[in-house]
Symmetry: C2
Subunit: 246 residues, 2 copies
């Protein structure tokens, strides 16, 4: 039976999503719990994609196969009772064995939070504590140049295995939080995102907000397909995987 | 010279505000930093009051005396550069040596956050994850009976040293968060609060919200001055010291 899960996690205390020897990762925590439920037999989960250390997920998705017969409701309760408090399974569905949580993704939504006000220790792991003013109008103009289908090689770690750096960003927004005008909320919806791509785009937008770059610079940075042009990588703590679309 | 500081902290990783042998506390962290600034000579700080383990502060206040001459601006920067990331000094003022951060308090404001929706791992240390519906109208009615001057012995740990359990709650409110209707925000403003008093009042309000108690029960619980009547103590993670008034 193939199961499809939607889950959230606080990335603060994980070395990212993906399993790595000796590290506490989201994948390992979930697979450990599934192994226990599956009578000691290993279960491998396949997520929509990885998230890096410190990155949070509001609706991450994954599938896995298990031989034992268990209702979705029991599996949901069982997993949540065994998982640590920083991971939560929101739903479990039975799906067709042809469904694939990574290959069938048609889009993702990421959100990035920046505090431009006073340093807030309570939100230090959940909102990037930039703590200085930014030119939001310029940032928004820069953001719009990122929309559309582009080669995003300038915004990722170049990897020999990747043959195609073209991705389509269908929708973006930059707004001030309705409860806190010093908090900027940047949203990206796209067909797919390369490694560090959102954090690198946010890093560039911050440089635009600081006046170090012009919004129009985005056009050239995209064109030259060169990572050295695009600026710093924004910290992981401000980033949330909000949704995965199929 | 007497200095008066306003500071915020994330209570999650502290064994409370007050110094205790071998424990990581807010007071100890700040005093360690001040000792360093003060050339190795011990500085004792006096806060408006303690907060328990896990309780957060948005605007905690304290005073301390130092012999060395240092501007408020330098002291602010120096403290923040040496403090851990979960404490932040928001301001430093020079005050008259007659001013006392604890004795001169005329009121405090506390906020308590409850999530009545789906468990949220990202907010688990910052909002009480109650995760079930509550009768907000009944809670609000119960809350109003807590307003005014009362003997709050039923809402604290009885302590031989305390002679007077009378406190005045001047203002309360219970609202749904404007961004998340499942999040309840309960505010208390009063002349002073006994140990565990806010968390015990919230614990009782939750029992009212569950239908286990009636809003009117608050009247009798206050009258009988008996801690065993008032119900569970709500978890510390949902509580914030928002303001101290002088």
């Amino acid at each position: 039976m193939r199961y499809f899960i939607t889950f959230s996690y606080d990335g603060s205390e994980f070395s990212g999503y993906q399993k790595q020897p000796k590290e506490r990762t989201v994948q390992k925590c979930i697979e450990d719990v599934l192994k226990e439920i599956n009578g000691g037999k290993t279960v491998s989960i396949c997520a929509s994609g990885r998230t890096d250390a410190g990155v949070h997920a509001i609706n991450q998705k994954a599938h896995f196969d298990m031989d034992i017969k268990i209702t979705c409701e029991k599996l949901l309760k069982g997993m949540n009772s065994l998982l640590p408090p920083d991971i939560y399974i929101k739903s479990v569905l039975e799906v067709d064995e042809k469904f694939h949580a990574r290959f069938d993704v048609i889009g993702k939504e990421y959100v990035y939070l920046i505090n431009t006000g006073e340093y807030n220790p309570i939100e230090r792991n959940y909102v990037f504590q930039y703590c200085s003013k930014l030119d939001v109008v310029a940032m928004e103009r820069g953001l719009k140049y990122l929309e559309g289908e582009h080669n995003f090689k300038s915004f990722t770690k170049v990897n020999e295995e990747i043959v195609d750096y073209v991705r389509k960003i269908s929708q973006t927004s930059l707004v001030r939080d309705s409860k806190d005008i010093n908090k900027l909320v940047i949203t990206f919806v796209g067909t797919g995102f390369l490694r560090y791509m959102v954090r690198n785009m946010v890093g560039l937008l911050i440089e635009i907000g600081e006046g170090k770059r012009k919004p129009e610079d985005v056009i050239d940075i995209l064109k030259y397909e060169d990572r050295t042009l695009s600026g710093k990588t924004a910290p992981s703590c401000g980033l949330y995987l909000r949704n995965v679309f199929y």
